[in-house]
Symmetry: C2
Subunit: 338 residues, 2 copies
């Protein structure tokens, strides 16, 4: 079975390649009868357009690059899942790149995406500062639409969709304080990320209202293992906080495993709350109080914004969109009143 190109079906019908191209791509300038004939034989022969050729010719690839730190936790998996739905329904293909929060991997992947002529990029950037130049080049020189989600890069003008970390942290802190806690610790996400920095910063803003100690503040590095280890370290301390904020869902999972392992009683031994919800929060005994973001929404909105940019490309650079999603506070039973 040899490949069937435009030429094949042009020969078959004794017409020119151009006509076939026009007919098949729905462009005007072909008589209805001929068009129908062409469409039919195309179908009969099982014609499949060669995307690489079109991409080369047009300079477009109908492909979108999606950059994420990791996929194994549910958070980014859900985001990617909704992005993929939106984009593939719109006729775009999704190239998935995971950075593992490693700036040089991020750079590499961005390069590849550029070479591939992707039409747009959805990125949860590794750091607030890392690869700033590269992103700037992509946006300003290459004029590729980029939408940041979950995290942002400092000083880069781009659309972004993030969750209100400040509000989320405040809800958590105020709740803990209202329950009588004034010795509070935190396991925050990697502080090089905008989310990590923001959550930590908001936490520190409470330093006059509550008692904070150095040892109660841990950078959990965003992943499960960091949550696990940081939690254990904190529980080893002589003077422990009475409540602990865990700064994302993967680290919360790690902490929950540590809790099981150490047979710690929540909330009697220590109260905990989580930034992010996840299945395990609900399932755990006691269920974990948290603020939740909606990853499905994040993916949906980011992808939609990108699609919109793509359509509106000819227009002068519009205002950048900055969507800040509200968190939802979910009270469960992991905090003790003291």
């Amino acid at each position: 079975m040899k490949k069937v190109a435009l030429k094949t079906i042009a020969k078959e019908l004794g017409v020119s390649i151009a006509t076939v191209s026009r007919a098949l791509s729905g462009k005007p300038g072909v008589s209805d009868r001929l068009r129908e004939q062409i469409v039919n034989t195309a179908k009969r022969l099982g014609y499949q357009p060669n995307i690489a050729a079109t991409a080369l010719r047009i300079g477009k690839s109908t492909t979108i690059g999606v950059l994420i730190p990791e996929l194994s936790g549910s958070f980014f998996a859900e985001i990617v899942s909704s992005m993929e739905k939106v984009l593939s329904d719109a006729g775009y293909r999704v190239i998935l790149c995971s950075t593992e929060d490693n700036p040089s991997k991020e750079a590499e992947h961005l390069q590849t995406l550029i070479n591939l002529n992707v039409e747009g990029i959805l990125s949860a950037p590794v750091g607030m500062k890392s690869n700033k130049q590269l992103y700037r080049r992509i946006i300003e020189d290459l004029k590729l639409p980029v939408v940041f989600f979950d995290r942002i890069v400092e000083g880069i003008e781009a659309d972004n969709v993030v969750t209100d970390s400040k509000e989320g942290m405040r809800l958590l802190m105020d709740y803990l304080i209202s329950k009588g806690h004034h010795k509070i610790g935190i396991i925050h996400p990697l502080k090089e990320t905008s989310t990590g920095a923001e959550r930590l910063k908001t936490f520190l803003e409470y330093k006059d209202k509550i008692k904070i100690r150095r040892e109660w503040i841990k950078d959990g590095g965003s992943f499960e293992v960091g949550g696990y280890e940081s939690f254990i370290e904190i529980m080893k301390l002589k003077e422990k906080p009475t409540a602990l904020i865990i700064g994302n869902n993967l680290m919360t999972l790690g902490a929950l495993k540590a809790i099981k392992r150490l047979k710690i009683k929540i909330p009697d031994d220590i109260s905990i709350v989580s930034f992010d919800d996840a299945s395990w929060n609900e399932i755990f005994d006691p269920p974990i109080t948290c603020v939740s973001q909606d990853p499905y929404q994040i993916g949906l909105i980011s992808a939609s914004i990108l699609l919109d940019k793509l359509k509106a490309k000819r227009k002068t650079t519009r205002e950048k969109m900055r969507v800040v999603l509200k968190v939802k506070f979910i009270e469960r039973r992991s905090v003790k009143k003291i």
Copy 2:
């Protein structure tokens, strides 16, 4: 900033495009001095090869298509995660397609992948029968390497990496029986999938050893909602089984949520075991006994096999590899001895 192609750097140095191409792609036939010069100016100008052009010329795209039913559960997310690592390290790009267990979506995505000239496909096919023709065409006519993982298509000769569902089910059943259960129910995965069919079939093989009733067998459709609803239906029955097997991790999550909601006591009210492990199994109280597959391994192995095929392409079609991964039985505390 205009684009820099081979032509740009050829002009810059007053040499021919062909030479530049040879120099940059490490082909012989360029003097060392010239080559070095070319490489340098290429770097200086920030040359980036246009992948579409190469793809068109060579008929290869260094791109792999990955087809999965869904991404929001941890199982496939982990698989994809490890595939992405392996493939991107080997210089391939990953196109992600989610089928939502819908055969026509699967077909659509496969078509797209073909048009894109992907060099290989990693697929967890929707059904044992659906799209059989298409897969056959891809493998036999297009000669594209395809590796099925987790699930297979009946009667298609292709490499595959699956978990031993039969052994897994037996471990679960024998364990339950050894604990004195002889009234056992099952919520199995979508029976159109090979995993669903195999697990159900193995379950039914026990029909002489234990008591099985129609109403104790539910097709949970593989997703969380199905696990949730099926579990509730079973608990409404007048005559209930004493133990229940839940056939994958997402459905187990659904069931666990139902259990919480209905305030059912495990294992006093009913014993449960799960095919697949997941974070929530470990975290739940009591922790759930299960057989576990290693999604990370599945991804790793499948991707490696594909890579191997890609390298060995010229050779005559070798034996198809059929990897069957063993499950691991993990006893926890969700089964009561009766």
